[in-house]
Amino acid sequence: MAVGKEIRTQIGSIKNTQKITSAMQLVAASKMRKAQERMGATRPYADRILDVIGHLAHANPEYNHLYLEEREIKRVGYIVVSTDRGLCGGLNANLFKQVVSELGRHHGAQVEVDLAVIGSKAIGFFKSFGGNVIATAGNVGDNPTVADLIGSVKVMMDAYEEGRIDRLYVVYNRFVNTMTQSPTVQQLLPLEKSEAFDESLGDHWDFIYEPGAARVLEQLLTRYIESLVYQSVVENLACEQAARMVAMKAATDNAGSLIDELELVYNKARQAAITQEISEIVSGAAAL
């Protein structure tokens, strides 16, 4: 039957797309579980080292490490963590919006901005958007190691040490739950004081450092920055999978309702054609 041939092909192609999106949804769901586990596993370390650093910021070291002093802000650095692949809803778009608004704020205050970007999507975005990108790391994959990220982090830390930037932030998506991911800007350098702290020590105290303040601080602070950036990349990965799962679920549902609508149209057209044929036959017979 010639009727509704186009509609049938359209239904077929939507069904194929639906198969793809529902497969992607399942893959994302299983990857998300893994990413979430990884995120949960690294969190205690990140939380603890944050505590330690918070305590340090309250102490009064005889040795003043560069990472602890506040400087006048003339130029700031951002490490932007994005995903490598698309099809994950508004995840990257929301993150970039946040970065762009930060850039606007700094521009208004006559502060210049350097960017280090992680993830292919951010590399692509800032290539077209502009911005002073000084380091990139793409294709970190589903199983990032600290070694993959260390390059771009090192560039930023060197820049901070040499005084080319006066503040360093990391921007990533914080994993709230499967449905919610919130773009977050976190200050890395100089270190922020932790709010929850045992005040019994008072203002004038310091740690005993073994083997020496300079060496301990150097090692600890470097480790801290690495762990924070690593944690944010791992968290962003969990966000990516969650966002993709939700986006693909929506796409599958939409395809389903589209198919329903088209099938209705198709059936109506088919019935109309049959009715017409019958009436043609009947009127033909009556004319005889």
Partner: protein, 140 residues
């Protein structure tokens, strides 16, 4: 019940221990140290080696850490390590093998030989064996 303090032992991969202890014994950069409640604030780097948690009312727990940091604050003790494990989970055969392998590398010194890495691996393997040894002595 003697005085206790909070203690957290975390590796980069997971949390190893969190709870109250009477004393923590670890191998710091400048030598072994024991921390009891009321210790003054301290930060030290750790060498690869054992960390012993003393509970008093039950058996001690022994951990292996691959180096890292130990922090003492009035609220408790934090131990941060890159990798670590409970002593019971250590694999003696693997540690012996790793030690022999590292020693062989140090002796042969090939062209693509990385001295620092081999030395670190040797130190870690020896530390692992030390922890296993300690655990065995305690059981005997």
């Amino acid at each position: 019940m003697a005085k206790t303090m909070k203690c957290n032992v975390v590796s980069a991969e997971r949390e190893l221990y969190s709870g109250d202890v009477e004393m923590v014994i670890a191998s710091g950069e400048l030598g072994d140290l024991g921390v009891t409640p009321g210790h003054s604030p301290l930060i030290t780097t750790l060498k690869p080696g054992p960390v012993r948690l003393v509970f008093g009312d039950r058996d001690d727990e022994l951990f292996y850490v691959s180096g890292g940091f130990l922090e003492v604050v009035p609220s408790g003790v934090n131990i941060l390590t890159d990798t670590g494990d409970r002593a019971e989970n250590l694999d003696e055969a693997a540690a012996v093998h790793a030690k022999a392998e590292a020693q062989r590398l140090l002796e042969e010194q090939h062209a693509d030989f990385d001295y620092t890495r081999a030395a670190v691996e040797l130190a870690e393997a020896v530390a692992r064996l030390r922890v296993i040894e300690q655990l065995r002595n305690r059981r005997a």
